[in-house]
């Protein structure tokens, strides 16, 4: 009871210190100003992560930033039939160039063969009309429908159609010369060209023209109706066509092998590759297109759903290609042996990698299915703002070092310890009440700042994001349940920093030493971690850490050793933020255990405090 009375006295005493109160007010102010600053820095964040129905293309105007004007500086918009084609239109330069060609046709073109000039002019006009028609529907560079136009399978289709239309009526050489710019003709292997265009029946030719015609009709319809569903269907049709073409190619290759078995070795590889392509289309491309349609996730609309889709696509394709090789193959491949040493280590690394892809897919799919984004898909969302602010713990840690270093040493240095120690209160009680008072003050300040910030983030970035869960293999977890343990864990390094400074304060009896030594240690740890960050660099995907190139120095060994010291745990908030050094190291498979770090801090704190009490109890007050 006496202790609590003394504690109350000491808390009152701390609250009477002007510099402490000023720092406390500054810290609390920071927790309020921080979200406001972040919100001002990126004002569109507030709307970006709002979950719900998204507008379709029509209202989803391109980001009309003024930088575009700078980029296309000096280019005048082209006006055709009353339609303005702006310089940032993806077809602008093509149209401009074609228009110049058509206007000054003779100046641009010289022809060897008779009739080529007329044919070229006709083709050019056709291409020009085609591009203008596209430019009317697609106005921005990142329009997802450009996929349809720039698909390599269809890149020569218009020229092919033109050849079909004119092959029977025109001079062969003149036709080839005319389409040269739009169709790749191999003069040394004319067989393929002839099989495709010459040696076919007129019915086949008519069908080819009709097919092309149908394709363009459909394409224009998809573009002009701006219908996402039709776009998906068209993409799926094209993918199916690809499978068909691949199958045809496989059949052709197999026929070659039958004709000449000696080719099997070299052609087998091509067949395998085509089969894998088909696999990929069937198991990945088409299901993902269907999934997009089902969830109405329009590519390139900047939504988190698209980021999640992209993650699914990437992870799935990596899962197809990152398949562990057999032990025999491993031993044959020198670079793998060099990198991993033993097969089991390699297997371990690859499996870990595959697990991380599976986890990525799981998180992305869960996010989309429930229409609630995981943390990683709302990097600037309210939740991440709250998690990022946990670095506030380090600021309070610094305050804790200052207070801890000040508490006892100042009493010694100012001589006030004498008048304090002659009171009817045992040394342990006096010491522990001072110890606890300042520590409680720091922790309260931390909690107050974090809670204030939590609310303020909600105000600035919207509370709705707090309702979104986090996903893992073991299920989903609400944000508060996800956040609270992390928030509380950040108190542990504060306690340790405080205990360490307090111990020095009691034993060294010098304020400057008791504050500067822990502060320098703290800064040193942060510097060490940022050096490691510089060494491991950044990467888009998690990689086994063995796969990084270290520029000759063995950072990995150093990090594995450091993981057992307090160094990586000093900036504990790094464990909880996206893309920090620690999270990167952990993703890379370095054994850094949060629970170990927290226990280490707890043990060290107890040791420091015990040393403080033990020394203080039997010390002569010579001041």
């Amino acid at each position: 009871m006496k202790f609590f009375k003394q504690l109350k006295i000491e808390i009152k005493n701390i609250l009477g210190m002007k510099f402490v109160i000023i720092i406390a007010i500054l810290a609390l102010l920071l927790s309020v100003v921080w979200p406001v600053y972040n919100a001002i820095k990126s004002p569109d964040n507030k709307q970006q992560w709002v979950v719900g129905a998204r507008p379709l293309m029509e209202t989803m105007a391109p980001v009309d930033d003024s930088s575009a004007d700078d980029y296309y500086y000096g280019e005048e918009p082209i006006i055709i039939d009353g339609v303005t084609i702006a310089p940032d239109n993806p077809f602008y330069y093509e149209i401009k160039w074609m228009k110049e060609q058509l206007d000054n046709f003779d100046a641009f073109n010289k022809f060897e063969h008779e009739g080529a000039k007329e044919l070229k002019y006709e083709l050019l006009e056709e291409m020009y009309a085609h591009n203008v028609r596209l430019a009317k529907s697609i106005k921005v560079q990142n329009d997802y429908r450009l996929d349809l136009i720039w698909m390599w399978q269809k890149s020569q289709l218009r020229a092919e159609k033109f050849i079909h239309e004119h092959i029977t009526t025109s001079d062969f050489d003149a036709l080839i010369e005319a389409v040269r710019d739009y169709y790749w003709y191999d003069p040394y292997n004319t067989e393929m060209f002839e099989n495709k265009f010459v040696n076919i029946s007129s019915i086949e030719r008519l069908k080819a023209i009709e097919d092309a015609e149908a394709y363009y009709t459909k394409l224009y319809a998809v573009l002009e109706s701006n219908d996402f569903e039709q776009y998906i269907f068209m993409r799926i049709d094209i993918e199916n066509e690809n499978i068909e073409n691949n199958n045809k190619a496989i059949t052709a290759l197999e026929r070659q092998i039958i004709d000449d078995p000696s080719l099997e070795e070299s052609l087998k590889w091509q067949i395998d590759d085509l089969n894998r392509q088909n696999d990929y289309i069937q198991s990945n491309t088409i299901p993902i297109l269907k999934y997009r349609l089902e969830k109405n996730i329009i590519p390139n609309d900047g939504s988190w759903q698209n980021d999640a889709m992209r993650d699914i696509e990437n992870a799935k394709s990596r899962l197809i290609y990152e398949v562990p090789v057999t032990e025999k193959e491993f031993n044959e491949q020198y670079h793998l042996k060099e990198q991993y040493g033993t097969y089991s280590r390699y297997l371990d690394a690859i499996n870990k990698l595959r697990d991380s892809f599976s986890a990525t897919i799981l998180i992305a799919e869960n996010s989309i299915d429930s229409d609630m984004p995981d943390l990683k898909y709302a990097p600037d969302g309210t939740r991440n703002q709250a998690l990022n602010f946990l670095v506030y713990g380090s600021i309070i840690g610094m305050l804790a070092i200052m207070l801890g270093g000040w508490m006892m040493a100042s009493e010694f240095q100012l001589g006030t310890i004498r008048l304090l120690m002659i009171r009817p209160c045992s040394r342990t009680k006096i010491l522990m009440s001072k110890f606890a008072a300042a520590l409680l003050f720091c922790i309260s300040l931390y909690l107050a700042g974090v809670i204030l910030n939590f609310v303020m983030n909600g105000v600035m970035f919207g509370f709705s994001d707090y309702a979104n869960p986090s996903y893992s293999a073991s299920g989903q977890i609400g944000f508060l349940a996800y956040y609270l343990p992390k928030m509380l864990a950040c108190i542990v390094p504060i306690i340790f920093a405080y205990c360490f400074a307090f111990m020095l304060s009691t034993t060294v009896k010098n304020v400057a030493v008791a504050i500067s030594v822990p502060a320098v240690c703290f800064i040193g740890c942060v510097i060490v971690m940022s050096i490691i960050k510089g060494r491991i660099g950044g990467g888009f995907y998690p990689m086994p850490i063995d796969a990084y190139y270290y520029g000759g120095s063995n950072v990995l060994e150093a990090v594995k050793w450091l993981a057992w010291t307090p160094v990586p745990f000093v900036l504990l908030s790094d464990f909880f933020t996206l893309d920090s050094v620690i999270s990167r190291l952990i993703e890379s498979g370095v054994p850094i255990y949060l629970a170990y770090g927290l226990s280490l801090f707890a043990v060290l704190s107890v040791v420091c405090t015990a040393v403080s009490v033990w020394i203080f109890r039997k010390r002569d007050i010579t001041q």
């Binding site: 009375k5 004498r418 008048l419």
Partner: protein
């Protein structure tokens, strides 16, 4: 009633014996002086009474409570100043007093304004301590020692920095407390003249050993037989010098007067003689009784100088 009892107290610091087997006691209603030169062990003893130093061997009890085993009870009964009273400079005098007062049981705490009045600090008690002079800090230091109506007061050279009026006030206050509140006072000093004026008993300490204990009567009696230096300012210095030389005394002419060293008891006769010789005496000054002289006279010649 015995308020403070020190039994064969010894303190060893860094292998050096600071205190060697000292014993003393203080009764209620008594002002006890603790006299000794610098470095004799006065402050060390007081720090051990107040719990600032550990005890190597021996025993200290305050009102029957052992200072080591029953520290908190012992300290409830003691108020004191150790060395300079270093207060919290960022606080006002009153805040300092409130802070210290809060550590005692409430029923014994005096009204802080009353205590401030007692030490004549009422006017400045609400100012920051950093604006105080040394004397004012000494007064607040005394106030914090009186806060909880302690039965024993332990004061370490409390007159440091006080002006003559302040010293007199302190003296009167201590006498009042001893007489009316039955408090015991243990006060250290290196000035015997100061001690003489208020103490009932004096312990003399040198080199960590108590070398004498005297009541104030004994001090005064012994003073009669002590040898001092007197200077006579008269209208006829030469004749006085001649006369004194005739008595075979150690004398000389200095600063326009005549200085002579002799026993205190012989002086009245000499004054009568000089007046009888028709010489006017303007002043007779007894030189300050220095500690050195006290030691010379009080200890049987073993301590010849202060170390």
């Amino acid at each position: 009633m015995e308020l403070l009892r020190i039994e064969s107290l010894t303190k060893v610091m860094k292998k050096r014996k600071i205190l060697d087997n000292i014993s003393l006691h203080v009764n209620s209603g008594e002002i006890v002086g603790f006299l000794g030169p610098n470095g004799a062990g006065k402050t060390t003893t007081i720090k051990m009474i107040m719990g600032l130093f550990t005890i190597t061997s021996g025993k200290i009890t305050v009102c029957g409570h052992d200072v080591v085993t029953d520290f908190e009870s012992a300290m409830q009964n003691v108020g004191g100043i150790v060395e300079n009273p270093d207060l919290y400079k960022r606080m006002t005098g009153k805040q300092n007093l409130e802070y210290f007062a809060s550590m005692y049981s409430k029923d014994k705490i005096r009204n802080i304004d009353d205590v401030a009045g007692l030490v004549k600090m009422s006017a400045r008690i609400n100012d920051k301590v950093k604006t105080y002079s040394l004397g004012m800090r000494q007064r607040v230091g005394l106030a914090q020692a009186l806060l909880h109506t302690p039965r024993l007061l332990v004061l370490d050279e409390p007159t440091n920095g006080l002006d003559p009026i302040g010293i007199k006030e302190l003296r009167d206050l201590l006498k009042y407390l001893a007489k009316n509140a039955e408090a015991g006072v243990f006060i250290s000093s290196h000035l015997l003249s100061e001690m003489e004026l208020m103490c009932d008993r004096i312990y003399i300490i040198d080199e960590g050993v108590v070398i004498g204990e005297k009541t104030i009567e004994q001090v005064k009696d012994s003073a009669e037989e002590q040898i001092f230096s007197y200077s006579f300012v008269t209208s006829g210095s030469e004749r006085v010098l001649e006369y004194l030389k005739g008595l075979d005394a150690n004398c000389e002419q200095r600063n326009g007067g005549v200085t002579v060293v002799m026993k205190r008891s012989e002086i009245p006769e000499i004054i009568r003689t000089i007046i009888g010789m028709g010489i006017d005496i303007y002043a007779v000054n007894q030189a300050q009784r220095t500690l050195e002289q006290d030691f010379i006279s009080m200890t049987t010649g073993t301590k010849t100088q202060i170390r």
